[in-house]
């Protein structure tokens, strides 16, 4: 190929951008009443909740602390807490 032309980029390169720094509230996954419904995973706008078998966690490198997961959790197993930074 010819010289670089600086106008295309590879897939998923946004991950260098650690949006977790924006957060003030942090989701705490209590791993207590989780029914494995994965609603938290589905509703996360930042696609940063991962896990399996009733154990899910937000990747805090990216979680912006919007609180949708906690608000939508049908069993109240996620709590938003003020993050001490």
């Amino acid at each position: 190929m010819s010289k670089p032309i600086l106008i295309t980029v590879g897939p998923g390169t946004s991950k260098v951008n650690k949006t977790g720094a924006w957060r003030t509230l942090m989701p705490v996954f209590k791993h207590d009443k989780c029914n494995d419904c994965r609603i938290c995973v589905t509703v996360c706008p930042d696609a940063c909740i991962f896990g399996q078998n009733n154990v899910y966690n937000a990747n805090l490198d990216y979680c912006k602390g919007c609180g949708i997961c906690a608000h939508e959790c049908p069993v109240d197993d996620i709590e938003m807490v003020l993050e001490a930074k």
Binding site: L6, I7, V9, G10, P11, G12, T13, S14, K15, V16, N17, K18, T19, W22, R23, K33, C34, N35, D36, R38, V41, T42, V43, C44, P45, D46, A47, C48, I49, F50, G51, Q52, N53, N54, Y56, N59, D61, Y62, K64, G65, C66, G67, I68, A70, H71, E72, M80
Partner: protein, 306 residues
């Protein structure tokens, strides 16, 4: 819990989304959530074109892209025409089989400035799914009014004031306009009901022609509400009758989401949002709320939602 999970086959671990982390959407952004749900339902064999707007800006600031599928942005008003070219190019190269083409844009890019290109793409019935992310204003440029901004909404170019309750035009009937092109499938959907949305994406992509999803995506910044309420507010728009979920096939209504049991007065929806705060501040404002209720009632009547 342990007892119930024991019997079920464990789900595979959660995998990375095709619209991945590190994008710069505001916390709680309904549009980023909608886009994630759409692309994950469509899967990796998808080429995406996108209009200028928040979605493009927050997901692809050079040299970073949150997209893990081939993706292109050209201009504010042409993602539908670019997608038509993508589809035609793939067909001519004999590479269309098994590849989805999705065009997307905001309410402004779709219903206002891009409606000419959209209409052409629909009329020619390209095998393209168009998704309109309706956050009811030009958010990227700072919450200005669009043709899909609802009646009596405060935006920066339709402000409420001493002599105005905000935008005085009802929402343009985008879905009906699209459906009138007599395309195989056109539907409304919302991030309030993610499973329904993802099902509709899959349904649309099975069609051999142009399809359309009018996707309601609340915007915490522009609508002025707390970020955790995105999904709840989206659901309330449906439950009040202000954003009816209706499916069209070949121009005819084939299915609606009934709200018989969950129906709520419009105040329930409006009260969470700062863009309607002016309606709760005076007696005249309360009369305006009645007008909004009338809009919801007309929707309910028109589509038989109860």
């Amino acid at each position: 819990m342990a007892e119930t999970t024991k019997k079920r086959k464990p789900k595979p671990p959660v995998t990375e989304s095709l619209l991945t982390s590190g994008h710069r959407a505001c916390a709680g952004c309904g549009e980023s959530l909608g886009a994630k749900l759409v692309i994950d339902a469509a899967g990796p064999n998808t080429i995406v074109t996108t209009c200028t707007g928040c979605l493009e800006v927050f997901s692809t600031p050079y040299p970073e892209s949150a997209w893990r599928v081939p993706w292109i942005h050209s201009l504010f008003e042409n993602s539908s025409a670019v997608a038509a070219g993508v589809e035609a190019g793939l067909k001519a190269l004999g590479k269309k089989e098994g590849i989805n083409v999705i065009a997307q844009g905001g309410d402004g890019g779709t219903a206002d400035i891009g409606i000419g290109c959209l209409s052409g793409m629909l009329e020619r019935n390209h095998e393209v799914l168009y998704v309109c992310y309706d956050n009811e204003a030009y958010m990227n440029t700072g919450v200005q009014r669009s043709g899909l901004t609802p009646f009596d909404t405060h935006t920066t170019t339709s402000p409420s004031g001493k002599k105005s309750f905000g935008n005085q035009h009802p929402k343009k009937p985008l879905l009906e306009i699209v459906a009138a092109h007599n395309i195989p499938y056109a539907t409304s959907a919302t991030v309030g009901y993610p499973a329904d949305l993802q099902l509709k994406v899959k349904k649309a992509l099975k069609e051999k022609g142009a399809t359309f999803i009018h996707l309601h995506v609340p915007c915490p910044l522009g609508w002025v509400y707390n970020t955790e309420l995105t999904i709840e507010i989206a659901r309330l728009a449906v439950q009040t009758g202000l954003f009816p979920l209706v499916e069209f096939k070949w121009g005819k209504v084939t299915r609606v989401r009934k709200i018989t049991r969950e129906r709520k007065p419009v105040e329930e929806y409006l009260k969470h949002q700062g863009r309607y705060r002016h309606l709760f501040a005076s007696e005249e404002g309360k009369k305006e709320i009645k007008k909004i209720q009338a809009i919801a009632d007309a929707n309910i009547e028109k589509y038989g939602l109860v």
